[in-house]
């Protein structure tokens, strides 16, 4: 069957799942399976292990569905289980991302290298030395090329864990800020700082890529 493109009414889905309705289960795994796997990959970085994690998560989900109280959305609950399961696996692989340390990944790096701005003796202290070149002039096919995609993915892979997790959920998966805070146990401010550092670095990587072309 087709994956649902719109949000499914959760309560109906949960009730159906409790009735052991296979169609409801299929709809759920089609809708969330791929993004759960991508999310698991931000912790474990091996496709095979991410697959294991996803399988384990669904066992936990099925065993827990009768007790699920719906205090968070089903999606938040699912991804919290992914996060916990993937973290446990990452510990076994000695690749740990404890949430308590995510904030350490605010490395305080400026969004834009300071040498792009005029010093205190400049005509406009703190102003651009030369303006960023508008990307709107780039041909659309260059913006959307596989190479551009590769630049983005490579830069995200290099980010510190906290920044990588937040930009993956916010900008790749399109989650709202509050859901990211729930799953990663971050305050809104901390979440925003990590997102800011991450986006700034991806922008800088794209700029290098486009300017060098």
């Amino acid at each position: 069957m087709e994956a649902p493109t719109t949000a499914v009414d959760e309560r109906v889905l949960i009730a159906a799942l409790r009735d052991r309705d296979e169609t409801a289960f299929t709809a759920l795994i089609e809708e969330h399976g791929p993004s759960m796997r991508r999310f698991a990959l931000t912790f474990v970085r091996s496709g095979a292990v991410a697959d294991d994690v996803v399988q384990e998560v669904w066992i936990v989900v099925l065993r827990g569905i009768d007790r699920f109280e719906g205090r968070s959305s089903l999606k938040t609950w699912l991804f919290q289980i992914v996060a916990n399961t993937a973290k446990t696996r990452a510990v076994k692989e000695a690749r740990v991302v404890p949430f308590s340390s995510l904030l350490d990944d605010d490395d305080g790096t400026p969004a834009v290298s300071p040498d792009r701005f005029q010093g205190p003796d400049g005509v406009h202290p703190g102003g651009w030395t030369s303006f960023p070149v508008p990307w709107e002039r780039l041909p659309g096919e260059q913006l959307l090329s596989n190479e551009t995609r590769a630049v983005i993915e490579a830069e995200i892979a290099r980010l510190p864990d906290g920044q990588r997790l937040v930009i993956t959920l916010r900008d790749m998966e399109g989650w709202p800020a509050d859901e990211v805070c729930n799953v990663l146990e971050l305050t809104e401010t901390n979440q925003r700082v990590l997102l800011h550092r991450a986006r700034s670095r991806v922008r800088a990587a794209l700029e290098r890529h486009f300017v060098e072309e």
């Binding site: 289960f25 406009h124 703190g126 102003g127 983005i152 790749m172």
Partner: protein, 82 residues
């Protein structure tokens, strides 16, 4: 000195601005600066493009057939036993 934001300060506020998290006064200073600064206008547009491109997967992945089979058989085991 006036309270004008510098370009260097503005670039650090972009994420908060886009999330609608700046207090009203800060937002006004931000927008006032943008209205007369082509460099920062380009910069904010670049961040917007970065967000858009990051959210644009080349191909929409779907569940692999093997994974779907594995999950369905897990489901059937569970449905039988529970």
């Amino acid at each position: 000195m006036s309270e004008e934001l510098t370009c260097e300060q503005l670039v650090e506020l972009v994420t908060a601005y886009l999330d609608g998290a700046l207090p009203a006064r800060e937002r006004e200073r931000f927008e006032a600066h943008l209205s007369h600064c082509p460099g920062c206008t380009s910069y904010v547009e670049q961040i917007g493009t970065t967000i858009r491109l990051t959210g644009e997967p080349l191909t929409e992945e779907s569940l692999s057939p093997e994974m779907r089979e594995t999950l369905l058989s897990q489901f059937r085991d569970w449905a039988k036993s529970a």
